[in-house]
């Protein structure tokens, strides 16, 4: 079978070209085609050989392209040199930044002042005690997709590290998928020579993409025994309440004042590489820059987060970023561990001091912490305020806690019964306004029932 004949047959069998559409469908298809031809295309964006591509792909690409105003280029990205190893060759671009290079409001070298124990505590990972930020590799990769699996190619891997007084950014790049093994072998060596890894969401993504591919190629993974600081989790813990999302670009902007120019979103990276492979005009230059910016942001973000507990930079200036959110985040973070409740209380108070309209939620947390650290009277007062000033779920929680405290801490059964009655009234209001989930309602009802029964028993014992 000649190729053209085979192609025809495949098109028909795979229903990729519907053989004979009905008139209604045909009309709809023509209309759709006409629409896509009118789509605005600017000069930078127009692809020179768009004709050779399937319609669906062309349409998808052209609709995406309307977003970006990033220049295209042809061929191998600039300043790349071939690196050779016994496993094969690939390209690499090396760029050096002086230690006082500013990325946003931070100098790269400021990460030397990040406190190791701060990182250990906010990331809750004791292994990080061995991580020296000046000897770490800062890792970020660009892949052909997010799904993972053997067919997802990490075509650009950036490793940043401090060499002498300057910061060296190494970007390994695949000219085609066959170079993967050689580049991964190099990456493994470079990572293994470091004291640990710094990434953003890399514990969940970058590391596994690389590790799976290394196993596939028989390259020993360097990740197993090295400490890994994933900045995503501390950032989200401390600042998520004050930011619109948990992305790296949000983190770098809000905390370090990094503003990117003409950034190409990471989701365009696969397309850029496929264009490069297909010998078409591509936007890899922008992908390299995006990747470079990501790595520089890792450095300054580590510098920032490593000063979270001091709340000052090395030179004594205040640490930028939303202070109230930080205090609140730290309060919640420490509140989870019994031995850190005193510290949590400290941060709750700071948070309340920084935000006059601090939320009821925060005050409930403070009350809970007071109760748990044995300061029942102070807790009681706070709970009372919370219960009386609004009719919401938090008020109900406060009311339930009040009854508990009256019964157990103050052992005032009359007062406890009054508190139970107040909680009941509140519960009725909430049920009437459908403010409760059925499960919350059942739980509250059961708790109140048990408590009032026990209180009545205790009271009668006492009077007897």
């Amino acid at each position: 079978m000649a190729d053209e004949e085979l192609f025809d047959k495949l098109r028909r069998l795979r229903r990729e070209v519907p053989p004979e559409l009905g008139p209604a469908l045909e009309a709809r298809r023509r209309a759709a085609a006409a629409r896509s031809e009118q789509a605005p295309t600017d000069e930078h964006v127009a692809r020179d050989d768009a004709e050779g591509m399937p319609t669906w792909l062309r349409q998808r690409l052209s609709s995406k392209r309307a977003h970006g105003r990033v220049a295209c280029s042809h061929g191998v990205p600039e300043d790349c040199c071939e690196e050779r190893r016994s496993e094969g060759s690939y390209l690499a671009r090396i760029k050096r930044f002086s230690g006082d290079h500013c990325h946003g409001h931070f100098r790269l070298e400021e990460c030397a002042h990040a406190a190791s124990d701060t990182l250990v505590r906010i990331a809750r990972d004791p292994a990080l005690a061995d991580l020296e930020l000046e000897r770490a590799v800062y890792l970020d990769i660009e892949t052909t997709g997010l799904s993972g699996g053997a067919g997802t190619v990490p075509f650009l891997v950036a490793l940043g590290s401090f060499v002498g007084g300057s910061f060296e950014l190494w970007q390994g790049f695949l000219r085609d998928p066959s170079e993967e093994r050689a580049m991964l072998a190099e990456v493994a060596e470079r990572v293994a020579a470091s004291s640990g890894i710094v990434s953003f969401f890399g514990k969940s993504f970058d590391r596994h993409r690389l590790e799976d591919k290394m196993r596939l190629h028989g390259v020993t993974s360097p990740f197993v025994d090295l400490p890994h600081l994933d900045l995503y989790h501390p950032f989200v813990r401390l600042y998520r309440s004050a930011t619109e999302d948990g992305r790296l670009q949000t983190a770098e902007r809000v905390l370090c004042g990094v503003e990117r120019e003409d950034d190409l979103p990471g989701s365009f990276a696969p397309e850029a590489w496929f264009d490069f492979l297909g010998n078409r005009a591509h936007r890899l230059e922008a992908v390299f820059r995006h990747n470079e910016d990501d790595v520089l942001s890792l450095v300054v973000l580590a510098a920032h987060l490593g000063r979270s507990l001091h709340e000052t930079r090395a030179d004594g200036r205040a640490l930028p970023g939303p202070q109230a959110a930080r205090a609140q985040g730290l309060a919640k973070h420490f509140a989870r561990v019994p031995s850190e409740r005193e510290e949590a209380l400290l941060w709750v108070r700071r948070a309340r001091a920084r935000d006059a309209h601090s939320s009821r939620e925060l005050r409930l947390l403070e009350a809970d912490l007071l109760r748990l650290t044995g300061q029942s009277l102070a807790a009681l007062e706070l709970y009372e305020g919370l219960r009386d000033e609004a009719n919401d779920v938090l008020a109900l929680r406060a009311a339930l806690e009040l009854a508990k405290l009256e019964e157990h801490a103050r052992r005032d059964f009359e007062a406890a019964l009054t508190a139970v009655a107040a909680a009941r009234t509140l519960l009725e209001v909430l049920v009437a306004t459908s403010a409760l989930r059925p499960s919350e309602r059942r739980r509250a009802e059961a708790e109140l029932g048990r408590r009032s029964e026990r209180l009545l028993r205790k009271r009668s014992c006492e009077s007897a």
């Binding site: 190729d3 469908l25 993972g148 067919g151 066959s178």
Partner: protein, 822 residues
């Protein structure tokens, strides 16, 4: 809920009386002597008890040998020994012996041997068609491992495996039990994570490979190609250990499935008790129409004879609702059979796992006396051996039949299997030809891994996993070749297609790499074109109420169609053809709809032809053909038909695009002269011709492993292509999985079976159990169809011919689409 029961049957009660029955022999005696029921048995067949044939243990590791001896297995059945020896000699093996002959042991032994020899380094991957089976096996394997006192692990990896366990399983699972779906979409695309498994993969064990046919089997054959390719990448070269029910052509099936020759073991050495088999044909209730009593009702009449407190009986129904209905009947009738209602249980998919385990245990320990099941109890779930099996209707394939019948038979005791025939051509055929069941396996499994649709989809998945490379000239033929993915000559062409047209691959010199932001295994189904299915939504609530496949959508969810779900009627308001969605509103409809279609088969290419010449001369008498066809089906109009009365209350047109299909067909043509002689004269010929075609299609599953609905039918009284009457029976799988070719090969058997059915049928002028009801085939339809089939079945041999049409112009004709009627 079962009604309350008096737990202590009195002496002299039915239960007491029935305790003293004379076992299965007594049941058979009573049935044969029974005044009414006895006469309905068309056949009784007795297979004498067969002793075990055993042989000495093969040369196994001492620790394993000791375990065998400790379990009282100092000797094994001959087929087990044979299979183990093949495996130890490094051959791929297929053990094709009946259910319960001990196949599991035959592949457990080599796997454990490899672990012992390699000091725990060897890995194996086991695949089962159902989840329950793999869990059963995992337990039994762990029993062996514990007894051997080794720190090895066998794990089940399926959709229920928690993520926390997955990692351990990947790195430390010596034996991984899984299913084809997980292998396809979970393990293979992520083989980097599974490198520990692939590095030293010794065996791939696949159970019940007779279930691997059609689109599913052809897809799985490609999944196995992917598996072997990946194993080779990591430096291992696994052997296959396959097991199946008895097969017609086990060597051919194994070759198509794994792409190489396997040693075949099919001489069963396990012992069997005496088996009695009877076929019950429900009595005629309306002799003219040939209508017989309902099979389920008849089972109700038979039940008191077949059930009792001193033995266990299993009923197999083909539909879930039938299970529920029969279970209720039998529970109600329990006291009259000397049983307690809770001793009668139903069993089917959809019951909660806990309940299923409880029923299985009850069957094993004998506390449940009667169970009514779907095919859910057909595959190897361990319920012990029972005494009496009743099959309500033929289950559609020999393997299923034997698996159901194989549920009975205890060592040293007689067992009984009864097939209750329905009004269906195949059931009718079997009622009079029990030798079909007892002879050798008859069915061909349709399996074609090189079907272009399946192959191209699977090549996507394979390219995602590892790049492809064409070797310049590996065999000195001067042609380049892609190795390790079968022998299709189109591999390079398909890869180029995926690169150039699909934009999915990147070609560099002679290598193809995956280059797309996608995870293909997610979109490639093993069972066919599911993404094309149409979802049916309730227009009011916007909730999905059903799903229907592509080809049936044009006849069941067109605008105006009445769509039925569990007795509720919905009227389709809008069919969004392009987005594969239909919107229907609940209505109280007193009619249902039936769509009419026009099907046209256009011949694309003829591959083979066999013909018979008229005795007196060179003229062609009749012929069979095999070729590629393009089938166009248009839904033309639908009729509204009142429930119960079947009175037609109107008809409307359907406006939908045609359904197109490229596939392979078997064609039967009869010369114009012969057609005249046979009385296929104008008037009745279309009806008779169609009746014969329909019957051929319906009995074809006796020889092909498929459902009648897997075959499409088109009949033409005067085909423009052939210039004579033609019947096309085509494979409904796009690109075909070989059903057309199998029909071409076996057409004589199919014609003979069809003739038997029509001759043996008690009706006078046609009925649903043969050529179709008289309303469809006409008054002379049955007679004419019978004469035609008789003519085709008799006479001289067919000879191979050049597969061309008689004149030279047809080539042009073939390309020209013929206008459709309507």
């Amino acid at each position: 809920m079962s009604p309350p029961i008096d737990p202590r049957p009195e002496a002299g009660s039915e239960r007491h009386a029935r305790r003293t029955g004379a076992g299965v022999d007594g049941i058979v005696r009573r049935l044969r002597a029974h005044a009414e029921l006895g006469a309905c048995f068309t056949t009784w067949h007795r297979t004498p008890a067969r002793p075990a044939r055993v042989a000495e243990l093969p040369d196994l590791h001492p620790a394993l040998r000791a375990q065998f001896e400790r379990r009282g297995m100092g000797e094994l059945f001959t087929h087990q020994v044979e299979a183990i020896e093949h495996a130890l000699a490094g051959r791929d093996v297929l053990i094709a012996t009946p259910t319960a002959s001990g196949k599991t042991l035959a592949y457990t032994a080599p796997v454990l041997q490899s672990l012992l020899e390699s000091d725990g380094a060897a890995r194996s991957l086991w695949m089962f068609p159902t989840k329950a089976l793999s869990q059963d096996q995992s337990r039994s394997l762990n029993g062996w491992i514990e007894a051997l006192e080794r720190d090895w692990h066998s794990y089940t990896y399926d959709g229920d495996t928690p993520p926390s366990v997955r990692r351990t399983l990947r790195d430390r699972g010596h034996i991984v039990l899984t299913n084809p779906w997980m292998l396809h979409s979970g393990i293979l695309p992520n083989h980097g994570k599974w490198s520990e498994l692939f590095r030293d993969l010794r065996y791939i064990v696949i159970d019940e490979v007779h279930t691997l046919s059609g689109v599913f089997g052809s897809s799985v054959a490609n999944v196995l190609r992917r598996l072997v390719r990946i194993a080779r990448h990591y430096g291992s070269d696994p052997r296959f250990l396959l097991s199946s029910a008895t097969l017609r052509d086990p060597a051919g099936h194994a070759r198509r499935l794994i792409g190489r020759d396997a040693a075949i073991v099919e001489e069963d050495g396990s012992p069997a008790g005496e088996r009695v088999f009877g076929v019950y044909e429900p009595p005629l209730v309306q002799p003219v129409a040939g209508m017989r009593a309902n099979a389920l009702e008849e089972v109700r009449r038979l039940a008191p004879e077949l059930c009792g407190p001193s033995h266990q009986t299993i009923f197999f129904c083909n539909r879930r609702t039938a299970v529920e209905v029969l279970t209720r009947y039998l529970k109600e009738a329990a006291p009259r059979m000397g049983l307690l209602p809770e001793e009668v249980r139903g069993y089917r998919g959809g019951y909660l796992p806990l309940m299923r385990r409880e029923i299985e245990a009850g069957l094993k320990d004998g506390s449940i006396k009667v169970v009514v099941s779907t095919n859910a109890l057909e595959l190897g779930i361990d319920i012990g051996a029972l005494d009496v099996a009743v099959l309500v209707g033929y289950p559609g394939s020999q393997a299923s039949f034997w698996q159901r019948a194989g549920r009975v038979g205890r060592r040293g005791k007689t067992s009984l299997a009864v097939l209750v025939a329905r009004s269906d051509p195949i059931d009718q055929y079997l009622a009079h030809h029990p030798e079909y069941l007892f002879g050798k396996a008859q069915e061909t499994l349709g399996l074609d891994p090189d079907n272009l649709v399946i192959l191209s989809e699977q090549l996507k998945c394979a390219a995602f996993e590892l790049p492809f490379e064409a070797l310049a000239d590996p065999d000195g033929s001067g042609r380049s070749r892609i190795e390790g993915f079968g022998d299709s000559p189109h591999l390079a062409g398909i890869l180029d297609y995926l690169a150039e047209e699909g934009g999915l691959l990147y070609r560099k010199d002679a290598r193809w790499f995956w280059a797309a932001d996608a995870y293909p295994a997610q979109d490639v189904s093993l069972a066919g074109n599911e993404p094309d299915n149409v979802l049916v939504f309730d227009a009011e609530t916007n909730k999905a109420i059903g799903e229907i496949d592509r080809e049936h959508s044009i006849t069941s969810v067109h605008e105006g169609a009445i769509y039925q779900v569990e007795g509720e009627t919905y009227k389709v308001e809008r069919f969004d053809y392009e987005n594969r969605r239909a919107y229907a509103r609940r209505v109280a409809s007193d009619y249902f709809t039936e769509a009419e279609t026009d099907t046209e088969v256009r011949l694309l290419r003829l591959e083979e032809k066999r013909a018979r010449r008229v005795a007196s001369g060179t003229q062609e008498d009749w012929a069979v053909w095999r070729g590629e066809v393009h089938v166009t089906t248009v839904a033309t109009q639908y009729k509204k038909i009142r429930f119960y009365t079947r009175e037609s209350v109107g008809a409307e047109d359907i406006h939908l695009p045609p359904e197109e299909l490229d596939t392979e067909a078997f064609v039967l043509t009869v010369s114009e002269a012969t057609a005249q002689t046979l009385g296929l004269t104008v008037g009745n010929r279309a009806a008779a011709w169609r009746g014969a075609g329909r019957l051929l299609r319906r009995v074809a599953p006796l020889f092909l492993r498929c459902q009648p609905s897997d075959l499409g039918l088109s009949t033409e009284v005067r085909s423009r292509t052939f210039g004579s009457p033609a019947v096309y029976i085509y494979d409904r799988v796009p690109g075909s999985v070989g059903l057309g070719a199998a029909l071409f090969r076996d057409h004589r058997e199919v014609v003979a079976a069809a003739l038997d059915v029509v001759q043996g049928c008690a009706c006078q002028e046609g009925c649903p159990a043969c050529v179709g009801p008289v309303e469809e085939v006409g008054a002379l339809g049955k007679e004419t169809a019978a004469a035609l089939l008789g003519y085709l079945a008799g006479g001289g041999e067919l000879v191979d011919c050049e597969p061309t049409l008689r004149t030279g112009e047809e080539k042009a004709d073939l390309a020209e689409p013929e206008p459709l009627r309507g």
